[in-house]
Subunit: 207 residues, 2 copies
């Protein structure tokens, strides 16, 4: 369908493969997914697939990059320009656009956890996970600190620990969501309770 290059088609092909791979990872998880699953889902041959990615890890990292670029930049951009309410910004960062806790969860969350947990003895993956963690941490810290300087947030709690707690909370929910059948996880209720906690910790009045 597209030999001797064309760059357009190459990028298109790559995107197709990633799209298919995403479905595969959502269905099988990281460990149980195989290159064969991916090439079948993407309708490429074995050789075709290996032209674009050198192994499963490579495919997965490409997907991670995608999602980082998607979510991270939004918040970073908003942080640059002074924003009206850091509380809103914080909620958006935690819960996404909707700003309200709901019963949705990123379908890639389970395989993401798998990817990092199963790779925790691998130098490369560990480094990758660490970078990812601190990148996220930094964003939360920035929001909290700016809000504190602003006077919008109380200074009674340490921004670092608070930010870590937020990440930890999200991770905990993602984990339970990954293990339990969806209907057994009360994402919304737990999120609401956590928001209450944040309000208290940051001294925010209104919701």
């Amino acid at each position: 369908m597209s030999p001797k290059v064309s760059k357009q088609h190459k990028e298109q092909r790559r995107a197709n493969i990633l799209e298919a791979a995403k479905d595969v990872f959502i269905e099988h998880g990281y460990e149980k997914a195989t290159m064969k699953h991916i090439l079948e889902a993407a309708n490429v041959s074995r050789g075709g697939l290996y032209q674009y990615f050198k192994n499963k890890e490579d495919v997965y990292e490409a997907l991670l990059e995608e999602s980082i670029n998607e979510s991270m930049h939004h918040t970073l951009d908003q942080l640059d320009e002074e924003v009206s309410s850091y509380w809103d910004l914080l909620l958006t960062r935690i819960f996404g656009k909707g700003q309200q806790p709901d019963d949705e969860m990123d379908p890639m969350a389970p395989s993401n956890l798998e990817f990092f947990i199963t790779g925790r003895n691998d130098q490369r993956r560990r480094e990758y996970g660490k970078t990812r963690y601190y990148t996220g941490l930094k964003i939360y810290k920035s929001i909290i600190e700016k809000g504190q300087e602003n006077g919008e947030f109380s200074k009674k709690f340490d921004s670092d620990i608070l930010a870590r707690s937020i990440i930890s909370f999200i991770d905990g929910l993602a984990l339970d969501y990954s293990i339990l059948p969806p209907e057994d996880v009360k994402l919304k209720e737990q999120s609401i309770m956590f928001v209450d906690y944040l309000k208290m910790a940051l001294g925010v009045d209104q919701g």
Copy 2:
């Protein structure tokens, strides 16, 4: 060393294998550990190992049973006899005997997460994880509810959601601990902050 049975020796052998297996799982994690690792660590032959366990999953479940029997019963026993302070009981359940948050974490925690996450598409494992979750949940709920009836705890929050939040908090910490190098996780500080939260939610004054 012990053919034609003796029951004593059989149980001893089994215990030896499990002990060795535990080390293996701590070192390699669940997925990357192999039966070969285990049989080498336990100094048994392949056939010897398969005499006691039919596969890796079987070995791991035996380890899980062990740890459940260890930790669960303590709390359950205490719940039967009326206890002086449910707050203390709650802390003991969360943080263990010491009752204070520290920088320790069960070394099996990472592989436990792995075991359940990678098995989330397996009917059997999913059921197992669910049972485990609800067993733990029930204990926390009982403690909270008894404390609430007692007047020791405030009733402003729902015991079910609160109990789930506790589990979620523990899971989140375990997850971060599994992914990050130990020195990058602030178990103690985050735990202290969480205890503050619980105090507020339960209306407990003193620490």
